[in-house]
Protein backbone atom coordinates (compact mmCIF):
# COMPACT_ATOMS: atom_id res chain seq x y z
CA UNK A 1 0.00 0.00 0.00
CA UNK A 2 2.76 2.35 0.97
CA UNK A 3 4.57 1.69 -2.28
CA UNK A 4 1.43 2.45 -4.28
CA UNK A 5 1.04 5.75 -2.52
CA UNK A 6 4.71 6.48 -3.01
CA UNK A 7 4.38 5.76 -6.72
CA UNK A 8 1.29 7.93 -7.00
CA UNK A 9 3.02 10.90 -5.40
CA UNK A 10 6.37 10.54 -7.01
CA UNK A 11 5.49 8.95 -10.36
CA UNK A 12 7.31 11.68 -12.22
CA UNK A 13 10.59 11.05 -10.43
CA UNK A 14 10.28 7.29 -10.74
CA UNK A 15 9.66 7.72 -14.47
CA UNK A 16 12.73 9.95 -14.75
CA UNK A 17 14.84 7.36 -12.94
CA UNK A 18 13.64 4.56 -15.23
CA UNK A 19 14.34 6.74 -18.26
CA UNK A 20 17.81 7.45 -16.92
CA UNK A 21 18.44 3.73 -16.38
CA UNK A 22 17.43 2.68 -19.89
CA UNK A 23 19.16 5.60 -21.55
CA UNK A 24 22.28 3.63 -22.68
CA UNK A 25 20.09 1.56 -25.02
CA UNK A 26 18.73 4.59 -26.81
CA UNK A 27 22.01 6.38 -27.46
CA UNK A 28 24.15 4.98 -30.23
CA UNK A 29 26.45 7.91 -30.87
CA UNK A 30 29.54 7.74 -28.68
CA UNK A 31 29.99 11.48 -28.77
CA UNK A 32 26.44 12.14 -27.56
CA UNK A 33 26.91 9.57 -24.84
CA UNK A 34 30.04 11.37 -23.70
CA UNK A 35 28.06 14.61 -23.42
CA UNK A 36 25.51 12.82 -21.24
CA UNK A 37 28.24 11.44 -18.98
CA UNK A 38 29.81 14.87 -18.62
CA UNK A 39 26.35 16.29 -17.94
CA UNK A 40 25.94 13.90 -15.01
CA UNK A 41 29.41 14.70 -13.72
CA UNK A 42 28.95 18.45 -13.93
CA UNK A 43 25.52 18.04 -12.34
CA UNK A 44 27.27 16.74 -9.23
CA UNK A 45 29.64 19.71 -9.27
CA UNK A 46 26.84 22.21 -9.89
CA UNK A 47 24.66 20.63 -7.20
CA UNK A 48 27.44 21.04 -4.68
CA UNK A 49 28.00 24.64 -5.75
CA UNK A 50 24.28 25.12 -5.30
CA UNK A 51 24.56 24.16 -1.64
CA UNK A 52 27.00 26.92 -0.78
CA UNK A 53 25.85 29.53 -3.30
CA UNK A 54 22.17 28.82 -3.78
CA UNK A 55 21.12 27.67 -0.33
CA UNK A 56 23.65 29.31 1.96
CA UNK A 57 24.13 32.44 -0.15
CA UNK A 58 27.94 32.45 -0.09
CA UNK A 59 29.40 32.72 -3.58
CA UNK A 60 32.37 30.39 -3.45
CA UNK A 61 34.41 30.79 -6.62
CA UNK A 62 37.04 28.25 -5.59
CA UNK A 63 34.80 25.43 -6.67
CA UNK A 64 36.90 24.29 -9.60
CA UNK A 65 39.90 24.47 -7.26
CA UNK A 66 38.32 21.83 -5.04
CA UNK A 67 37.24 19.88 -8.10
CA UNK A 68 40.91 19.99 -9.10
CA UNK A 69 42.06 18.84 -5.65
CA UNK A 70 39.79 15.82 -5.96
CA UNK A 71 41.01 15.15 -9.49
CA UNK A 72 44.71 15.42 -8.62
CA UNK A 73 44.14 13.37 -5.48
CA UNK A 74 42.60 10.46 -7.36
CA UNK A 75 45.13 10.74 -10.17
CA UNK A 76 48.14 10.59 -7.88
CA UNK A 77 46.73 7.96 -5.53
CA UNK A 78 45.54 5.56 -8.22
CA UNK A 79 48.78 5.97 -10.16
CA UNK A 80 50.51 5.17 -6.88
CA UNK A 81 48.67 1.85 -6.88
CA UNK A 82 45.72 2.55 -4.62
CA UNK A 83 42.28 1.27 -5.60
CA UNK A 84 39.93 3.86 -7.08
CA UNK A 85 37.30 2.98 -4.51
CA UNK A 86 39.67 3.96 -1.74
CA UNK A 87 41.28 6.87 -3.54
CA UNK A 88 37.96 8.56 -4.34
CA UNK A 89 36.66 9.01 -0.78
CA UNK A 90 40.16 9.92 0.38
CA UNK A 91 40.46 12.65 -2.26
CA UNK A 92 36.97 13.95 -1.55
CA UNK A 93 37.84 14.06 2.15
CA UNK A 94 41.05 15.87 1.30
CA UNK A 95 39.04 18.46 -0.64
CA UNK A 96 36.67 18.79 2.32
CA UNK A 97 39.57 19.14 4.78
CA UNK A 98 41.27 21.82 2.69
CA UNK A 99 37.85 23.42 2.35
CA UNK A 100 37.63 23.54 6.14
CA UNK A 101 41.05 25.14 6.45
CA UNK A 102 40.29 27.70 3.74
CA UNK A 103 36.77 28.27 5.02
CA UNK A 104 38.03 29.25 8.48
CA UNK A 105 39.65 32.48 7.29
CA UNK A 106 37.57 33.27 4.19
CA UNK A 107 34.11 32.71 5.64
CA UNK A 108 34.76 35.42 8.18
CA UNK A 109 34.36 37.86 5.33
CA UNK A 110 31.06 38.44 3.60
CA UNK A 111 29.52 38.98 0.21
CA UNK A 112 31.91 40.06 -2.50
CA UNK A 113 34.86 39.80 -0.10
CA UNK A 114 34.20 36.11 0.26
CA UNK A 115 33.76 35.70 -3.49
CA UNK A 116 37.06 37.45 -4.13
CA UNK A 117 39.05 35.59 -1.51
CA UNK A 118 37.76 32.20 -2.64
CA UNK A 119 38.51 33.12 -6.22
CA UNK A 120 42.05 34.01 -5.17
CA UNK A 121 42.35 30.58 -3.60
CA UNK A 122 41.06 28.95 -6.80
CA UNK A 123 43.68 30.78 -8.84
CA UNK A 124 46.39 29.77 -6.36
CA UNK A 125 45.41 26.11 -6.82
CA UNK A 126 45.72 26.28 -10.58
CA UNK A 127 49.04 28.16 -10.39
CA UNK A 128 50.41 25.57 -7.97
CA UNK A 129 49.13 22.75 -10.19
CA UNK A 130 50.92 24.35 -13.12
CA UNK A 131 54.23 24.97 -11.40
CA UNK A 132 54.78 22.16 -8.91
CA UNK A 133 56.20 20.05 -11.70
CA UNK A 134 57.59 17.10 -9.69
CA UNK A 135 54.26 16.48 -8.06
CA UNK A 136 51.59 17.53 -10.54
CA UNK A 137 53.38 17.28 -13.87
CA UNK A 138 53.20 21.02 -14.43
CA UNK A 139 51.20 22.34 -17.35
CA UNK A 140 51.40 19.00 -19.13
CA UNK A 141 49.28 17.50 -16.38
CA UNK A 142 49.02 13.84 -15.52
CA UNK A 143 48.28 11.21 -18.14
CA UNK A 144 47.39 7.54 -17.96
CA UNK A 145 45.17 7.65 -14.89
CA UNK A 146 43.65 4.16 -14.55
CA UNK A 147 39.91 3.61 -14.89
CA UNK A 148 37.98 2.58 -11.76
CA UNK A 149 38.61 -1.04 -10.80
CA UNK A 150 35.74 -3.39 -11.71
CA UNK A 151 33.18 -3.89 -9.02
CA UNK A 152 31.81 -7.33 -8.30
CA UNK A 153 28.18 -7.09 -7.36
CA UNK A 154 26.35 -10.19 -6.12
CA UNK A 155 23.77 -11.57 -8.61
CA UNK A 156 24.92 -9.26 -11.42
CA UNK A 157 28.57 -10.18 -11.55
CA UNK A 158 31.53 -8.04 -12.39
CA UNK A 159 30.78 -4.49 -13.41
CA UNK A 160 33.59 -3.05 -15.47
CA UNK A 161 34.06 0.53 -16.51
CA UNK A 162 35.69 0.01 -19.87
CA UNK A 163 32.44 0.68 -21.71
CA UNK A 164 30.64 3.98 -21.82
CA UNK A 165 27.53 2.33 -20.37
CA UNK A 166 29.52 1.24 -17.33
CA UNK A 167 30.95 4.72 -16.89
CA UNK A 168 27.50 6.20 -17.30
CA UNK A 169 26.04 4.02 -14.55
CA UNK A 170 28.95 4.90 -12.28
CA UNK A 171 28.36 8.62 -12.72
CA UNK A 172 24.60 8.21 -12.50
CA UNK A 173 24.93 6.32 -9.23
CA UNK A 174 27.04 9.10 -7.75
CA UNK A 175 24.67 11.75 -9.09
CA UNK A 176 21.78 9.91 -7.48
CA UNK A 177 23.70 9.67 -4.21
CA UNK A 178 24.52 13.38 -4.29
CA UNK A 179 20.94 14.29 -5.09
CA UNK A 180 19.66 12.10 -2.28
CA UNK A 181 22.03 13.64 0.27
CA UNK A 182 21.30 17.17 -0.93
CA UNK A 183 17.56 16.47 -0.78
CA UNK A 184 17.83 15.20 2.79
CA UNK A 185 20.09 18.07 3.74
CA UNK A 186 18.09 20.99 2.39
CA UNK A 187 14.83 19.63 3.75
CA UNK A 188 16.25 19.19 7.22
CA UNK A 189 16.50 21.70 10.03
CA UNK A 190 20.12 22.18 9.06
CA UNK A 191 19.13 23.07 5.51
CA UNK A 192 16.62 25.57 6.86
CA UNK A 193 19.33 27.16 8.96
CA UNK A 194 21.49 27.47 5.83
CA UNK A 195 18.67 29.32 4.11
CA UNK A 196 18.17 31.49 7.16
CA UNK A 197 21.84 32.49 6.93
CA UNK A 198 21.36 33.31 3.26
CA UNK A 199 18.28 35.42 3.86
CA UNK A 200 19.53 37.39 6.82
CA UNK A 201 22.70 36.43 8.58
CA UNK A 202 22.31 38.83 11.49
CA UNK A 203 18.75 37.75 12.13
CA UNK A 204 19.71 34.08 11.85
CA UNK A 205 22.41 34.66 14.45
CA UNK A 206 20.01 36.40 16.77
CA UNK A 207 17.59 33.47 16.83
CA UNK A 208 20.37 31.20 17.98
CA UNK A 209 21.79 29.76 14.77
CA UNK A 210 25.55 29.47 14.84
CA UNK A 211 25.96 31.18 11.50
CA UNK A 212 29.71 30.67 11.21
CA UNK A 213 29.46 26.94 11.91
CA UNK A 214 26.60 26.70 9.43
CA UNK A 215 28.58 28.40 6.69
CA UNK A 216 31.65 26.24 7.38
CA UNK A 217 29.58 23.07 7.29
CA UNK A 218 27.89 24.03 4.05
CA UNK A 219 31.24 24.96 2.53
CA UNK A 220 32.88 21.71 3.62
CA UNK A 221 30.03 19.53 2.32
CA UNK A 222 29.96 21.43 -0.97
CA UNK A 223 33.70 20.98 -1.38
CA UNK A 224 33.47 17.30 -0.51
CA UNK A 225 31.14 16.77 -3.46
CA UNK A 226 33.21 19.02 -5.70
CA UNK A 227 36.22 16.84 -4.86
CA UNK A 228 34.16 13.72 -5.50
CA UNK A 229 33.13 14.96 -8.93
CA UNK A 230 36.75 15.87 -9.66
CA UNK A 231 37.96 12.42 -8.63
CA UNK A 232 35.49 10.64 -10.91
CA UNK A 233 36.38 13.05 -13.71
CA UNK A 234 40.10 12.25 -13.39
CA UNK A 235 39.53 8.52 -13.49
CA UNK A 236 37.12 8.56 -16.43
CA UNK A 237 39.06 11.05 -18.52
CA UNK A 238 42.44 9.47 -17.85
CA UNK A 239 44.23 12.81 -18.15
CA UNK A 240 44.08 16.00 -16.13
CA UNK A 241 45.88 19.32 -16.32
CA UNK A 242 45.79 22.62 -14.41
CA UNK A 243 42.80 23.62 -16.54
CA UNK A 244 40.84 21.06 -14.49
CA UNK A 245 41.04 23.59 -11.66
CA UNK A 246 40.58 26.70 -13.79
CA UNK A 247 38.34 29.63 -13.10
CA UNK A 248 36.55 29.06 -16.42
CA UNK A 249 35.15 25.81 -15.09
CA UNK A 250 33.80 27.62 -12.04
CA UNK A 251 32.22 30.22 -14.31
CA UNK A 252 30.67 27.47 -16.42
CA UNK A 253 29.06 25.92 -13.36
CA UNK A 254 27.94 29.34 -12.26
CA UNK A 255 26.15 29.73 -15.60
CA UNK A 256 24.62 26.24 -15.30
CA UNK A 257 23.50 26.98 -11.78
CA UNK A 258 22.02 30.40 -12.33
CA UNK A 259 20.37 29.69 -15.65
CA UNK A 260 19.02 26.40 -14.34
CA UNK A 261 17.83 27.97 -11.12
CA UNK A 262 19.77 28.45 -7.90
CA UNK A 263 18.37 27.11 -4.62
CA UNK A 264 16.38 24.38 -6.35
CA UNK A 265 17.49 20.78 -6.68
CA UNK A 266 16.35 20.32 -10.26
CA UNK A 267 17.82 23.62 -11.48
CA UNK A 268 21.53 22.68 -11.38
CA UNK A 269 20.87 19.37 -13.14
CA UNK A 270 18.75 21.00 -15.83
CA UNK A 271 21.41 23.66 -16.27
CA UNK A 272 24.24 21.13 -16.48
CA UNK A 273 22.40 19.14 -19.15
CA UNK A 274 20.57 21.76 -21.16
CA UNK A 275 23.34 24.34 -21.53
CA UNK A 276 26.04 21.98 -22.90
CA UNK A 277 23.44 20.63 -25.34
CA UNK A 278 22.56 24.16 -26.47
CA UNK A 279 26.30 24.83 -26.74
CA UNK A 280 26.60 21.83 -29.06
CA UNK A 281 23.73 22.99 -31.22
CA UNK A 282 25.22 26.46 -31.44
CA UNK A 283 28.56 25.06 -32.56
CA UNK A 284 28.36 27.08 -35.79
CA UNK A 285 28.50 30.28 -33.75
CA UNK A 286 31.91 29.29 -32.38
CA UNK A 287 33.25 31.97 -30.02
CA UNK A 288 30.07 34.02 -30.22
CA UNK A 289 28.35 31.46 -27.99
CA UNK A 290 30.22 32.74 -24.96
CA UNK A 291 29.04 36.28 -25.66
CA UNK A 292 25.47 35.02 -25.75
CA UNK A 293 25.90 33.16 -22.48
CA UNK A 294 27.56 36.14 -20.84
CA UNK A 295 24.62 38.30 -21.87
CA UNK A 296 22.17 35.63 -20.73
CA UNK A 297 23.86 35.54 -17.33
CA UNK A 298 23.31 39.28 -16.95
CA UNK A 299 19.70 39.16 -18.14
CA UNK A 300 18.89 36.25 -15.86
CA UNK A 301 20.47 37.78 -12.77
CA UNK A 302 18.61 41.06 -13.37
CA UNK A 303 15.20 39.81 -14.42
CA UNK A 304 14.93 36.16 -13.37
CA UNK A 305 17.12 35.73 -10.31
CA UNK A 306 15.66 32.27 -9.81
CA UNK A 307 16.58 30.93 -13.23
CA UNK A 308 14.71 28.51 -15.44
CA UNK A 309 13.23 26.54 -12.54
CA UNK A 310 12.09 29.70 -10.81
CA UNK A 311 10.50 30.91 -14.03
CA UNK A 312 8.80 27.55 -14.41
CA UNK A 313 7.34 27.68 -10.89
CA UNK A 314 6.10 31.22 -11.38
CA UNK A 315 4.46 30.22 -14.63
CA UNK A 316 2.87 27.20 -12.98
CA UNK A 317 1.50 29.35 -10.19
CA UNK A 318 0.09 31.83 -12.67
CA UNK A 319 -1.61 29.14 -14.70
CA UNK A 320 -3.00 27.63 -11.54
CA UNK A 321 -4.16 31.07 -10.43
CA UNK A 322 -5.97 31.61 -13.74
CA UNK A 323 -7.54 28.19 -13.48
CA UNK A 324 -8.92 28.72 -9.98
CA UNK A 325 -10.11 32.19 -10.95
CA UNK A 326 -12.14 30.80 -13.78
CA UNK A 327 -13.63 28.12 -11.59
CA UNK A 328 -14.40 30.51 -8.77
Amino acid sequence: MATVQFLRQRWFYVLLLILALVLPWSITNRYHFQIVIMGCLFSIATLSMNLILGYTGQASLAHAGFFGIGAYGVALLTKGGLSFWLALPLSALLAAAIGFLIGLPTLRSRGSYFAISTMCFGVIISIVAGNWIDFTGGYNGIVGIPLPNPLSIPLIGDLGFQTQAGQYYLVLAFLFLTLLIMHRLVNSLLGLSFMAIRNNEVLAGSVGINTFAGKILSFVVANFFAGLAGGIYASLMGTISPSTASLELTFNWLIFLLLGGAATLAGPIIGAFVIPVIMEYLQFLAEYRLIIFGALLIVVIIYFPRGLMGGFTTLQQRVRGLYTQRRG
Partner: protein, 275 residues
Protein backbone atom coordinates in the same frame (compact mmCIF):
# COMPACT_ATOMS: atom_id res chain seq x y z
CA UNK B 1 56.76 50.85 -12.23
CA UNK B 2 54.50 47.87 -11.75
CA UNK B 3 53.36 49.46 -8.52
CA UNK B 4 52.34 52.61 -10.40
CA UNK B 5 50.16 50.60 -12.78
CA UNK B 6 48.58 48.76 -9.90
CA UNK B 7 48.00 52.03 -8.09
CA UNK B 8 46.14 53.64 -11.01
CA UNK B 9 44.03 50.56 -11.72
CA UNK B 10 43.21 50.11 -8.05
CA UNK B 11 42.38 53.79 -7.80
CA UNK B 12 39.73 53.39 -10.49
CA UNK B 13 38.35 50.32 -8.82
CA UNK B 14 38.21 51.84 -5.38
CA UNK B 15 36.06 54.65 -6.75
CA UNK B 16 33.49 52.16 -8.01
CA UNK B 17 33.78 49.45 -5.40
CA UNK B 18 34.35 51.61 -2.37
CA UNK B 19 32.18 54.56 -3.23
CA UNK B 20 29.35 53.11 -5.30
CA UNK B 21 29.65 49.67 -3.65
CA UNK B 22 29.61 47.99 -7.04
CA UNK B 23 31.97 45.00 -7.15
CA UNK B 24 32.95 45.72 -10.74
CA UNK B 25 34.75 42.53 -11.46
CA UNK B 26 35.07 43.45 -15.11
CA UNK B 27 37.49 46.26 -14.22
CA UNK B 28 40.53 44.30 -15.37
CA UNK B 29 38.81 43.54 -18.63
CA UNK B 30 37.98 47.17 -19.21
CA UNK B 31 41.66 47.84 -18.68
CA UNK B 32 42.41 45.27 -21.38
CA UNK B 33 39.90 46.90 -23.71
CA UNK B 34 41.57 50.25 -23.12
CA UNK B 35 44.91 48.83 -24.23
CA UNK B 36 43.35 47.40 -27.38
CA UNK B 37 41.62 50.64 -28.29
CA UNK B 38 44.89 52.53 -27.90
CA UNK B 39 46.64 49.92 -29.98
CA UNK B 40 44.19 50.15 -32.86
CA UNK B 41 44.02 53.90 -32.79
CA UNK B 42 47.79 54.01 -33.08
CA UNK B 43 48.36 51.31 -35.67
CA UNK B 44 45.27 51.65 -37.89
CA UNK B 45 44.49 55.34 -37.69
CA UNK B 46 47.96 56.65 -37.09
CA UNK B 47 47.22 58.43 -33.83
CA UNK B 48 50.15 59.63 -31.76
CA UNK B 49 50.78 58.01 -28.40
CA UNK B 50 49.24 60.78 -26.33
CA UNK B 51 46.22 61.41 -28.55
CA UNK B 52 45.54 57.67 -28.59
CA UNK B 53 45.79 57.59 -24.81
CA UNK B 54 43.32 60.43 -24.35
CA UNK B 55 40.90 59.09 -26.98
CA UNK B 56 41.05 55.67 -25.38
CA UNK B 57 40.22 57.26 -22.01
CA UNK B 58 37.21 59.05 -23.51
CA UNK B 59 35.92 55.95 -25.31
CA UNK B 60 36.36 53.76 -22.23
CA UNK B 61 34.66 56.39 -20.10
CA UNK B 62 31.61 56.20 -22.38
CA UNK B 63 31.69 52.40 -22.32
CA UNK B 64 31.92 52.56 -18.54
CA UNK B 65 28.81 54.74 -18.35
CA UNK B 66 26.98 52.35 -20.64
CA UNK B 67 27.95 49.33 -18.53
CA UNK B 68 26.87 51.07 -15.35
CA UNK B 69 23.51 51.96 -16.90
CA UNK B 70 22.76 48.56 -18.43
CA UNK B 71 24.35 46.09 -16.06
CA UNK B 72 24.66 47.56 -12.61
CA UNK B 73 21.86 50.07 -12.14
CA UNK B 74 19.03 47.51 -12.27
CA UNK B 75 20.79 45.62 -9.48
CA UNK B 76 21.37 48.63 -7.25
CA UNK B 77 19.18 47.51 -4.38
CA UNK B 78 19.89 43.78 -4.70
CA UNK B 79 22.56 41.86 -2.74
CA UNK B 80 26.10 42.64 -3.87
CA UNK B 81 26.60 39.14 -5.03
CA UNK B 82 24.10 39.67 -7.84
CA UNK B 83 26.17 42.55 -9.18
CA UNK B 84 29.21 40.36 -8.85
CA UNK B 85 27.67 37.62 -10.98
CA UNK B 86 26.47 40.22 -13.44
CA UNK B 87 30.06 41.45 -13.63
CA UNK B 88 31.23 37.95 -14.45
CA UNK B 89 28.75 37.95 -17.34
CA UNK B 90 30.17 41.29 -18.46
CA UNK B 91 33.76 40.09 -18.35
CA UNK B 92 32.93 36.97 -20.34
CA UNK B 93 31.36 39.21 -22.99
CA UNK B 94 34.30 41.62 -23.03
CA UNK B 95 36.98 38.97 -23.22
CA UNK B 96 35.24 36.92 -25.89
CA UNK B 97 34.39 40.00 -27.95
CA UNK B 98 38.03 41.00 -28.06
CA UNK B 99 39.05 37.45 -29.01
CA UNK B 100 36.41 37.33 -31.76
CA UNK B 101 37.19 40.77 -33.11
CA UNK B 102 40.96 40.85 -32.89
CA UNK B 103 42.12 37.30 -32.30
CA UNK B 104 43.61 35.64 -29.23
CA UNK B 105 47.26 36.35 -30.06
CA UNK B 106 49.25 38.94 -28.17
CA UNK B 107 50.21 42.22 -29.82
CA UNK B 108 52.79 44.84 -29.14
CA UNK B 109 52.36 48.57 -29.28
CA UNK B 110 55.39 50.31 -30.82
CA UNK B 111 57.32 51.98 -28.05
CA UNK B 112 57.18 55.74 -28.51
CA UNK B 113 60.12 56.45 -26.22
CA UNK B 114 62.71 53.70 -26.54
CA UNK B 115 65.56 55.76 -25.07
CA UNK B 116 67.21 55.00 -21.79
CA UNK B 117 67.92 57.50 -19.07
CA UNK B 118 70.59 57.33 -16.43
CA UNK B 119 70.25 59.29 -13.27
CA UNK B 120 72.08 58.82 -9.97
CA UNK B 121 73.28 55.45 -11.11
CA UNK B 122 69.78 54.16 -11.89
CA UNK B 123 69.27 52.98 -15.44
CA UNK B 124 65.72 53.04 -16.66
CA UNK B 125 63.92 53.19 -19.97
CA UNK B 126 62.24 56.47 -20.75
CA UNK B 127 58.86 54.77 -21.10
CA UNK B 128 59.05 53.30 -17.61
CA UNK B 129 59.90 56.64 -16.16
CA UNK B 130 56.95 58.07 -18.05
CA UNK B 131 54.61 55.53 -16.48
CA UNK B 132 55.73 56.52 -13.01
CA UNK B 133 55.46 60.25 -13.63
CA UNK B 134 52.09 60.04 -15.39
CA UNK B 135 50.75 57.84 -12.61
CA UNK B 136 51.65 60.47 -10.05
CA UNK B 137 50.15 63.24 -12.17
CA UNK B 138 46.92 61.26 -12.61
CA UNK B 139 46.68 60.51 -8.91
CA UNK B 140 47.17 64.15 -7.99
CA UNK B 141 44.67 65.32 -10.60
CA UNK B 142 42.06 62.89 -9.37
CA UNK B 143 42.61 63.92 -5.78
CA UNK B 144 42.20 67.59 -6.71
CA UNK B 145 39.08 66.77 -8.72
CA UNK B 146 37.41 64.95 -5.85
CA UNK B 147 38.36 67.39 -3.12
CA UNK B 148 38.14 70.76 -4.87
CA UNK B 149 35.51 70.67 -7.61
CA UNK B 150 31.74 70.47 -7.29
CA UNK B 151 31.25 67.22 -9.26
CA UNK B 152 34.05 65.69 -7.20
CA UNK B 153 32.52 66.65 -3.90
CA UNK B 154 29.14 65.24 -4.98
CA UNK B 155 30.88 61.90 -5.50
CA UNK B 156 32.20 62.10 -1.98
CA UNK B 157 28.77 63.06 -0.70
CA UNK B 158 27.18 60.03 -2.32
CA UNK B 159 29.89 57.84 -0.85
CA UNK B 160 29.20 59.16 2.63
CA UNK B 161 25.45 58.99 2.56
CA UNK B 162 23.43 58.06 -0.47
CA UNK B 163 20.03 59.05 0.91
CA UNK B 164 21.40 62.25 2.35
CA UNK B 165 22.91 63.16 -1.01
CA UNK B 166 19.57 62.56 -2.67
CA UNK B 167 17.83 64.78 -0.12
CA UNK B 168 20.03 67.76 -0.83
CA UNK B 169 19.30 67.45 -4.52
CA UNK B 170 22.23 65.50 -5.90
CA UNK B 171 21.34 63.38 -8.89
CA UNK B 172 22.69 60.10 -7.60
CA UNK B 173 22.31 58.28 -10.89
CA UNK B 174 24.32 60.94 -12.65
CA UNK B 175 27.02 60.69 -10.02
CA UNK B 176 27.13 56.92 -10.50
CA UNK B 177 27.61 57.38 -14.24
CA UNK B 178 30.31 59.96 -13.68
CA UNK B 179 32.18 57.83 -11.17
CA UNK B 180 32.05 54.87 -13.48
CA UNK B 181 33.30 56.93 -16.38
CA UNK B 182 36.26 58.23 -14.36
CA UNK B 183 37.04 54.77 -13.10
CA UNK B 184 37.13 53.16 -16.53
CA UNK B 185 38.99 56.13 -18.02
CA UNK B 186 41.78 55.73 -15.46
CA UNK B 187 41.94 52.02 -16.30
CA UNK B 188 42.34 52.94 -19.97
CA UNK B 189 45.08 55.41 -19.09
CA UNK B 190 47.00 52.79 -17.11
CA UNK B 191 46.60 50.22 -19.87
CA UNK B 192 47.74 52.59 -22.62
CA UNK B 193 50.75 53.65 -20.57
CA UNK B 194 52.14 50.19 -19.93
CA UNK B 195 51.06 48.66 -23.24
CA UNK B 196 54.32 49.61 -25.01
CA UNK B 197 56.29 47.76 -22.33
CA UNK B 198 54.28 44.54 -22.08
CA UNK B 199 52.42 42.60 -24.72
CA UNK B 200 48.67 43.14 -24.91
CA UNK B 201 46.39 40.12 -25.07
CA UNK B 202 42.71 39.39 -24.37
CA UNK B 203 43.56 37.69 -21.09
CA UNK B 204 45.84 40.43 -19.74
CA UNK B 205 43.04 41.92 -17.68
CA UNK B 206 41.88 38.89 -15.74
CA UNK B 207 44.74 38.60 -13.26
CA UNK B 208 45.14 42.36 -13.05
CA UNK B 209 41.46 42.77 -12.18
CA UNK B 210 41.82 40.32 -9.33
CA UNK B 211 44.95 42.04 -8.11
CA UNK B 212 43.14 45.35 -8.19
CA UNK B 213 40.55 43.85 -5.87
CA UNK B 214 43.33 42.59 -3.62
CA UNK B 215 44.77 46.11 -3.47
CA UNK B 216 41.43 47.76 -2.82
CA UNK B 217 40.76 45.38 0.02
CA UNK B 218 44.31 45.77 1.31
CA UNK B 219 44.05 49.51 1.27
CA UNK B 220 40.57 49.73 2.69
CA UNK B 221 37.39 50.12 0.75
CA UNK B 222 36.93 53.52 -0.81
CA UNK B 223 40.14 54.91 0.57
CA UNK B 224 42.11 56.60 -2.21
CA UNK B 225 45.43 56.90 -0.33
CA UNK B 226 44.95 53.26 0.71
CA UNK B 227 44.60 52.17 -2.89
CA UNK B 228 47.73 54.04 -3.93
CA UNK B 229 49.75 52.66 -1.03
CA UNK B 230 48.35 49.17 -1.59
CA UNK B 231 49.29 49.34 -5.25
CA UNK B 232 52.89 50.17 -4.51
CA UNK B 233 53.11 47.59 -1.71
CA UNK B 234 51.84 44.87 -4.01
CA UNK B 235 54.18 45.92 -6.83
CA UNK B 236 57.18 45.78 -4.51
CA UNK B 237 56.02 42.52 -2.91
CA UNK B 238 55.80 40.88 -6.31
CA UNK B 239 59.13 42.26 -7.46
CA UNK B 240 60.91 41.07 -4.31
CA UNK B 241 59.07 37.75 -4.09
CA UNK B 242 59.50 37.08 -7.79
CA UNK B 243 63.18 38.01 -7.68
CA UNK B 244 64.28 36.26 -4.51
CA UNK B 245 61.88 33.37 -4.02
CA UNK B 246 60.36 32.07 -7.23
CA UNK B 247 59.13 33.90 -10.31
CA UNK B 248 56.65 31.16 -11.20
CA UNK B 249 54.73 31.76 -7.99
CA UNK B 250 54.75 35.54 -8.37
CA UNK B 251 50.96 35.78 -8.51
CA UNK B 252 50.49 33.49 -5.54
CA UNK B 253 51.94 36.06 -3.12
CA UNK B 254 49.29 38.66 -3.82
CA UNK B 255 46.39 36.25 -3.49
CA UNK B 256 47.91 34.52 -0.50
CA UNK B 257 48.40 37.89 1.17
CA UNK B 258 44.74 38.70 0.60
CA UNK B 259 43.50 35.48 2.19
CA UNK B 260 45.86 36.05 5.10
CA UNK B 261 44.71 39.62 5.63
CA UNK B 262 41.03 38.79 5.36
CA UNK B 263 41.49 36.05 7.93
CA UNK B 264 42.80 38.57 10.41
CA UNK B 265 40.63 41.50 9.43
CA UNK B 266 37.55 40.41 7.46
CA UNK B 267 36.94 43.95 6.20
CA UNK B 268 40.43 44.64 4.92
CA UNK B 269 43.57 46.16 6.33
CA UNK B 270 42.38 49.73 6.79
CA UNK B 271 38.69 48.90 6.31
CA UNK B 272 35.99 50.18 8.55
CA UNK B 273 33.84 47.72 10.45
CA UNK B 274 30.68 47.05 8.48
CA UNK B 275 27.42 46.58 10.26
Amino acid sequence: MLGSTYAIVALGLTLVFGILHIPNFAHGHLYMLGAYISFFLMTLYGFGFWTALVSSMVILGLIGMLIERIIYRPLQDKPHINSFISAIGALIILETSVIVLWGPQGRRIPNPYPDIVEWLGITMSYQRLLVIVTAIVLIVLLQVFIKKTTPGTTIEAVAQNREGAMLVGINVNWVSSLTFAISTATAAAAASLVAPIFMISPTMGALLGMKAFVIVILGGLGSIPGAILGGYILGILEAIGGGYLSAAYKDVYAFGALILILSIRPTGLFGKEVS
